[in-house]
C-alpha cells in the first residue's frame, strides 16, 4: 500500500493502481476522452494530464496510464496542469471541432468549439477497434499498418452496422448516414438495410444488428420490431388502461 496525495487529499493505493482510478475512488474527477473502463487505457488523447510530484521532481503525466509505484503528490488542477490540459484540448478541438464528448471537456476548460472542419478527427485511441473486438464481438475493425489509415476505413464483412463504433468514438470521427431504409458508413464503404418500426416507420437499427440482439434473447416481434419511442407510447397506454406492465409472453 502506498500513500499518495491528490489535490490535497491523502489516500492509500495498491502498487500498480493508476492515478485515474485512485482519484475516482476518492471522488476527484479528472477529465478523460479516450478512456473507457471496459478496455485498457490508450493514452491517445492526453486530456487526463495531471501534475505529478515525486521526490521534488515535477512531471506532467497522463493519469489513465501512470501506475503508482512510490509515494507522490498529484495536482489535477494546478496552474501547470490546467495550462497543459488547455493546450491539449485546444489542439484536439482544432482537429475535431463539434465532437460531442470533446465539446463537453472543451467547454469546461473554457475553450470555444465551432463546427466546421473537414480534417481527420481520428486520434487513434483504439476504442472502436477494441469495442468491436471485445464487446460487440464482431472484430470488424482493424488498424492499418503504419501511421496512415484509421480503423473505421478498414471494415471487414463481419460488420453488422450497429454503429457502436460511432457512438463510442470520442471525437465523432465515424460518419453514419441513414436514408431510404439504409444505413451507410461512407468512410468504410459499407451499407446495411435498416429494420423499420412497424408502428411509425422510422428506423430502429440494422437488420443484422437486430438479429444479433434477438439471438441473445427471444423477443416477441411486438418488442423487437417497434422503436423505443413507440414502445414508450404504448407503455403510457398500458398504464392508462390499468393493464400490466410486465413483458408480453412470447
Amino acid at each position: 500500500m502506498i500513500d499518495i496525495t491528490i489535490d490535497g487529499i491523502r489516500t492509500t493505493v495498491s502498487e500498480g493502481d493508476t492515478i485515474l482510478a485512485a482519484a475516482r475512488a476518492i471522488g476527484i474527477e479528472i477529465p478523460t476522452l479516450c478512456h473507457h473502463d471496459i478496455v485498457r487505457p490508450h493514452r491517445a488523447c492526453r486530456v487526463c494530464t495531471v501534475e505529478v510530484i515525486r521526490a521534488d521532481k515535477v512531471n506532467f503525466l497522463t493519469a489513465c496510464t501512470y501506475k503508482v509505484t512510490e509515494p507522490l503528490v498529484v495536482n489535477t488542477r494546478s496552474e501547470g496542469a490546467l495550462a497543459r490540459r488547455r493546450e491539449i484540448v485546444a489542439g484536439l478541438v482544432a482537429s475535431s471541432p463539434g465532437a460531442p464528448a470533446l465539446a463537453v471537456i472543451a467547454h469546461e476548460a473554457g475553450i470555444e468549439t465551432h463546427s466546421d472542419s473537414t480534417g481527420e478527427r481520428c486520434i487513434r485511441c483504439g476504442l472502436c477497434v477494441r469495442v468491436c473486438d471485445e464487446i460487440i464481438g464482431q472484430k470488424a475493425l482493424a488498424y492499418e499498418k503504419g501511421a496512415a489509415g484509421t480503423p473505421y476505413k478498414t471494415v471487414s464483412d463481419a460488420c453488422i452496422g450497429c454503429a457502436t463504433c460511432a457512438a463510442i468514438c470520442p471525437t465523432g470521427a465515424i460518419v453514419v448516414e441513414e436514408r431510404g431504409g439504409v444505413r451507410r458508413f461512407p468512410q468504410g464503404n459499407r451499407e446495411f438495410k435498416l429494420t423499420a418500426c412497424r408502428t411509425c416507420g422510422r428506423p430502429i437499427t440494422t437488420e443484422l444488428h437486430l438479429a444479433a440482439v434477438r439471438a441473445k434473447r427471444s423477443l416477441p416481434d411486438s418488442v423487437a420490431q417497434v422503436c423505443p419511442a413507440c414502445k414508450r407510447a404504448s407503455f403510457a397506454g398500458l398504464v392508462s388502461a390499468g393493464e400490466s406492465t410486465r413483458p408480453p409472453k412470447l
Binding site: 474527477e29 473507457h36 473502463d37 471496459i38 460531442p100 464528448a101 465539446a103 463537453v104 467547454h107 469546461e108 469495442v131 464487446i135 460487440i136 464481438g137 450497429c162 457502436t164 457512438a167 463510442i168 470520442p170 430502429i204 437499427t205 444488428h209 437486430l210 440482439v213 441473445k216 434473447r217 423477443l219 411486438s222 418488442v223 423487437a224 417497434v226 422503436c227 423505443p228 419511442a229 413507440c230 414502445k231 414508450r232 407510447a233 404504448s234 407503455f235 403510457a236 397506454g237 398504464v239 392508462s240 390499468g242 393493464e243 400490466s244 406492465t245 410486465r246 413483458p247 408480453p248
Partner: protein, 174 residues
C-alpha cells in the same frame, strides 16, 4: 431492504418536478444551477407524458428477468439481489441493444451518445437513508418510495380508479 417505487397515476399532475429532480440527482454537481451549466446536461430517467388527457409518469419497472441485461454486450446491466436493475454508465458502450430489447422502450441515450441511462433507484441517496429524488420532489405523492415490501416487485403502478378505495396494484416486471 428492497427498494420500491409506488406510482399512483391519479395523483400525477404532470408538473415535471420528478424529471428535474432526477436530472439534478444524476448531474455531477447535484445542484440545479450546476446541472443547468453542465454542457452534457444529464437526462432524466423518469418521463412525464400523457395519454388521453391523463398525465402519466414512466420509469423503468426493474423486471425480475430483465431483457436489457440479457442482451447487453458489455455486461453493463445487472439485477441486484435487492431488486434494482442497474445500468453502469462506465461500462456502457452506447450500442442501444437494451432499448431494442426493453418491452417498454425505457433506456435513453445520454446526450453525448456514448452511453444509455435508465433508473437506478438513486443508490447514493438510499445509502444515506434518503428516498429517491423523484419521490422526494413529487408534490402530490404520485411517486412514493416504499421499502421492504417483499414479493411486490420493484415498481408498482396503481390503476386509476373511480375513487380512493378502488386501487388495484399492478406489479411491474416479469
Amino acid at each position: 431492504m428492497s427498494p420500491a417505487l409506488s406510482i399512483d397515476v391519479d395523483r400525477c399532475v404532470a408538473c415535471g418536478r420528478c424529471e428535474i429532480a432526477c436530472s439534478v440527482e444524476h448531474s455531477r454537481s447535484k445542484d440545479l444551477f450546476g446541472a443547468l451549466m453542465q454542457h452534457d446536461a444529464p437526462r432524466s430517467r423518469v418521463t412525464v407524458t400523457e395519454r388521453e388527457g391523463m398525465p402519466i409518469v414512466l420509469v423503468c419497472v426493474h423486471c425480475d428477468d430483465p431483457a436489457c441485461a440479457a442482451v447487453c454486450p458489455a455486461g453493463a446491466i445487472e439485477k441486484h439481489a435487492s431488486g434494482e436493475v442497474v445500468l453502469s454508465e462506465g461500462k456502457c458502450v452506447g450500442c442501444g441493444a437494451c432499448a431494442v430489447a426493453c418491452h417498454l422502450g425505457v433506456p435513453v441515450a445520454r446526450r453525448d451518445g456514448r452511453a444509455y441511462v435508465t433508473c437506478d433507484l438513486c443508490p447514493s441517496r438510499r445509502e444515506e437513508g434518503r428516498v429517491t429524488a423523484c419521490a422526494e420532489a413529487c408534490p402530490t405523492g404520485a411517486i412514493r418510495y416504499d421499502e421492504g415490501k417483499k414479493g411486490q416487485g420493484v415498481v408498482k403502478y396503481e390503476k386509476p380508479g373511480q375513487g380512493k378505495s378502488t386501487y388495484v396494484t399492478i406489479v411491474g416486471g416479469t
